[in-house]
Symmetry: D4
Subunit: 242 residues, 8 copies
């Protein structure tokens, strides 16, 4: 464009403390030191090339640790598979992981209400694992068939943190939250139709739960729930020590 157009000016990639300028972004290369969490690339809104570039840069900076990419659409997943053959790319959770996983500490249990909530539950599970927790899952235990949940009730108390994923009216966290005192993060999903489309009903249901101590993340934000739950689990006292 015009010579006076700043958007065309080449921006030098001068490395500075705590971030790397890769031309289209200033990658935060300092997160692990500040927070103990993994480096992460949010795929949404990025081109496949940008995703690959960011993964490559961050894993080169941190070859000893897993780097996670989330919300990868099909072209991005294909590009990662081609460019980074060692990456672990998953079509359900729409994630990619590059580098060695940390030793798991503590246990996060991911509980999902219905089949359609699966991708969000999977994103939460992968994220929690990459962030250092051990992960287990229970699926398809929606409140309309309470016997399915009660059959696995004993597993709730054995976890260090719970992630409960549900769409529609989002009632599952209220029921689970009444059965156990384990820290619980609720994830509303956008599964639903009519007034339930977009996940607003599930979100409001979880925010207004009558069960105490339930916290909530944004609609479909399995990633955020996974980070929070892993942070809890990895600093929890071992079971036999409690």
């Amino acid at each position: 464009m015009l010579s006076s157009d700043p958007s065309r000016d080449p921006r030098p990639s001068v490395p500075q403390e705590g971030f790397v300028d890769v031309g289209f972004a200033r990658l935060d290369s300092d997160r692990a030191r500040r927070t103990g969490d993994a480096e992460v690339v949010l795929g949404q809104g990025k081109t496949p090339e940008q995703v690959v570039g960011a993964l490559r840069t961050l894993s080169a900076l941190h070859p000893d640790r897993a780097v996670l990419a989330t919300r990868l659409d099909e072209p991005a997943r294909a590009a990662v598979r081609t460019a980074l053959p060692d990456a672990d790319v998953d079509d359900v959770s729409r994630t990619a992981v590059v580098g060695p996983l940390p030793t798991p500490a503590g246990t996060v249990l991911v509980v999902a209400a219905g089949t359609s909530d699966g991708p969000v539950a999977a994103e939460a599970a992968v994220t929690a694992r990459v962030h250092g927790a051990g992960v287990e899952r229970v699926d398809d235990v929606g409140v309309a068939g309470l016997h399915r949940l009660l059959a696995v009730r004993h597993r709730l108390d054995e976890a260090d943190a719970l992630i409960v994923v549900a769409g529609m009216e989002g009632a599952l966290p209220s029921v689970v939250g009444g059965l156990t005192g384990v820290p619980l993060v609720a994830v509303p999903t956008s599964i639903g139709y009519g007034t339930g489309a977009g996940g607003l009903a599930a979100l409001l249901g979880m925010l207004n739960s009558c069960a105490p101590g339930i916290t909530v993340v944004n609609v479909d934000n399995g990633y955020g729930a996974g980070v929070h739950a892993a942070r809890i689990a990895r600093r929890a006292r071992p079971r036999d020590a409690s």
Copy 2:
């Protein structure tokens, strides 16, 4: 006001077929014939004098049947108690009933989640009774303490229609609806705070319930639920005939 102001022109109370003109309203005196339901006065937005006048007119037209008034504030209830000493006035449900109750047919069970939902549950119960059904109640069985609901589970299947009242996230109808096949009307209440204020969260939760066959009425509309449930109960086959 001005002689040309139509709002001051006295409107003659000429009786016409199906309604009575009492000056400030054209009372629908024909409802029972059309629908089998009781005559009802909605107290909200009416002065105590208007409530008393409407009750008096309708009970004079239908001395053999109960006439119901709902949403009566304290002054209206006091005015009814003074003007119509035979009326049955209730401070919890904020209702008044004039005239003999019908013989109960079938059973409506009103289930409420919390103490604060009591007034709405009471309005539903009184309405269903006035509209011809027998009524029973179960209170304080919110989903955060599931054992309280499971302890009365057997009573659900014995009813001809269920009214389930809940505020907050409104999850109780989903759980009840998964336990029984009795026709169920859910009533969201305005109990809650923050994003739950006004009952929107409970309403959306009930509309998006994952349990099948749940129908919903407006927030705090115990009256509407009572009418619907009574219509179901009074035409249900007797238990021993089913």
Copy 3:
């Protein structure tokens, strides 16, 4: 994915009481015993293969009863037609039915305001029939041409339950509800544009109806209305016995 990724661990399909684990879901195989209703597969959010698999499993468990699938898109309907040639697949209501229909008990009348409301009305009709009721229909009787509704007025009182389907401003249930005392479920549809898009105007109109006893389901939820109405109809006293 990673060996430590729980989403890849094969979950054994251990049968348990009340549900069947088919790998991607824990099918509720116990609904009929608990509620008397049919087993149902919600097609939305499922792949054609998942729909076929669920239908096959449930109809194998319940060969003597109809199994219903709803919200099937074109590929899912094609897959069902191919895999289950005995299935009754309908393009208007987007449903499939496998297995013998129950003997009809009582009558549900489905009333629709406009041509565009037809698919939702059809879903309600099929659902009510599968859930045990006889079904009749009246179409295109919107309130802007009141003479069309008044011409079929006598049919309203002959039903055991009414389902009234309307988009736009959703006024039809108010008018029908003022003409009869039969239990009435209103179904808002997403037909409309501008502020009416998505069905919110119709939903609010029905929730705030000035006619008593109207209950409402989610936008486009013909299925939910059909279940509720069938539950009413199949336990109603026969006409000659009332």
Copy 4:
């Protein structure tokens, strides 16, 4: 306040063409010439003194024509009664009129659904009359008792413009609009509760009416409907000339 504070500087009331500066406002004294309408004082948000001052100024400028004040609370009405004893002050419509009414031309029929809609209907009626139309009224003809409306159906076609006032679900304009081709303005009222509180349900219902040619004003805006309808009526061909 501070000498440099502009809000304290006395602003000279220099008369200019088309408005009069009365210290707290620049009164539009030119409306009649531009639009043929009456001068109007919106009482909401004004002190009683400001209302009296504006009425006095405008009626002094236009002694030959009626000046209207709307949305007067009780203190404002009392102040007007004391200061302007010839004013016609009405407690239901919360209006005051000073000066001679115009000769009525054409007919506006104001139709109201329920008793509680009375104040808005009265404001519409007074406004239309002050703006030059003859006015008639029909009250309490809500759609839940259709026979009441059908009993006065013949009066609809005799008007030059219709104003239809309704709260709750706001269905009355749809039904009236299907019966006649007279220009119709719908006025939603804030009568309702739960999701109907504030008049949103009625507003959406009217905007999405399936009856053609219905136009809508803001919630409770009887004044705006009255101006529009009077403009139609006073330029309509006389009946015998049509």
Copy 5:
């Protein structure tokens, strides 16, 4: 579908008074007698075949009058052009007209704020013409360049009814409404982005206009505005008679 499926039962097209049953709809054939308006087919939500069929039926019933179809997508317009070669099909307004236009009576002036509002303005213009009014137009007179509007100010007072079409903030009706006393219908359009997407900002702006007497229709509802304005224009006194 199943033999017991009511949606498959052939519904006989028994003609009845006031409507024609064409299989997929009960066409209101009586509108002209009741309201004086044209027969209209709303194309949205109908297949091309249904549009052609409805146009054919209504124009056969009313060969002496224009029949209007609106909101026709490209396939529907192509189908009408092929099946009804005498139809007047317009790509901007997305309408089709079959049959002779009425003699114009009175004048509707359609004023549009921007180029993008053109299709809605065109729908309003065609509708008003088909419904019996003469129509004139002024385009691209948005309030950000006030001189464009003031240059055509004299034309406002010469009309019998005004239709003012605007998207974005929808301010044009307020400015026009302050300049003239001609009855004015405002039409918000869905032109805009961010918080303006969908037309809500324009709709709210028009409903809350500080100019008196403005009435509003649904977003993009040029048709509704055209019907209302034509009803006003065709019963207006001729200019020389006023």
Copy 6:
């Protein structure tokens, strides 16, 4: 009321496993066993008598543990002070505590953005303490004066769980969340005006935070945040053991 009115029937207070029927409520007396949390009375929507009664019953059942009451208005606090002189009643957090506090385990740090957020922060702090955690606080560190937050930055990493309270745009959790990896619960408050009134802006800001791992509770829900954070803190590994 009527003898057939169920709301008047005395309900016997038959003790059952897991709840106590005190006439107006079925108190959940089993929470500690199920969840390890304290028994709690939500004061909102209860009369002072009901609050006192519930506190008395629960503290009699659990004399060895603290019982908490929240959202107590002034009359309720006065009633508790009179009836239960040993209760610890606090006017800022609007809470009351009866019985001995547990030995604190781990540390919850409550961070508040502004003075007006104080009551919600206080409720969170009292709740966390009653639920078994040690509690510290930092106040008035809003993001518009970043130096105030950076001055206490070192205290963030020393906590086992963070509660970050903010109104207005709710940006504080994003900034805090970028500085530390400690599990963080964000609490939006209803402090604000215009579009910020009610706390919606703060809630949305927190749900959409670009900092990872932030979870959110309902507006003003200090109680919920306190329960969640205490559950984390009391099972966290001691610092020297990590």
Copy 7:
């Protein structure tokens, strides 16, 4: 409260760089150095004592500069008048100013649409003056009477920054913004009713203005607009230098 309750622990008022701890708040005493703006106390949500204390502290720290307090209710204004007799307290803008005003630099013109918008316009004017600009005002020039605005059109271009205040549909900024190229800040007010209540319609109108370069602040936020406009004015080139 409890000895372990942190909310009761006396927090020492240790002065630190950039803020002063006054017990209930950490006052930002560094704003002038960072931003050049005045120190400000937001009165909303503070007790009269807190307002007086904050004003006293900040004016003691900055005796040479004006300190501003906004959104003072009547008790707060009375407390300030008593405690700080030199303060300039204004009832319309609900502000108080302590200390000498800065020399005005540049000119901010505050334009208001209606009488009811006066308090917000006054808050903007006082704020701009305290923040260093000269201030002028034009009132009551709403778009429904365009001649009032056009009469003062020449004053628009003479300002360095414009603040345009309007409620209802908020159209005034669009018209003003089309007449001049001076930087313009639009302030929506909460003046309105029905769908206009709360200022949402005005806010959306201003955000979607078709006039270029308009920026917007929160509803009723005269303070924010005043700060922004003063920042522009005080760095503007003098007129004769441009």
Copy 8:
């Protein structure tokens, strides 16, 4: 269409003072004289032919000045490149510029939170440059990694106006606004998901910022922010003169 259809009548392109009628639009050719701003073509909602035609006409009228087109989709950009080879067309900002750029006066600094906010930041930058300001940019300094922003803090105070672009929770303007007193315009972007989709969360966050003096434009409205900021910058005193 019909000969009486006004939408087909050829409208003569009679030039008039201040606008040019090009058939499909009345181009405002007078903007520069009134406001000093560039002529602009909003590409959204226009065909490629309309964009080219408007650019051609305006640049012919103003050959000495740059003409800007915004929101050009790919076909429009291709059409401009073909028809106007001298145009400067940019794919990131989706803009085209025809004609010589003005000499830059003052400096606008555009600050963006994340990579995905780039296109909106680019539109703001190009617009500010075309409207006469010098422009600089800082990217990818979101609040979750505060060190990236603090590293460039000194550049904030060197600008005459700031444009701060952010999606998600939109917290960046609050943090920047607390660090500097330069006039700041915040631009929310539609980057986000769940409750953040569409930019509402970012918009509300910015409107409710606790940092003073922040003004806001519509979601994704980089153009509006660029015009406002350029107006500030080009009339700012030179640095050495301040």
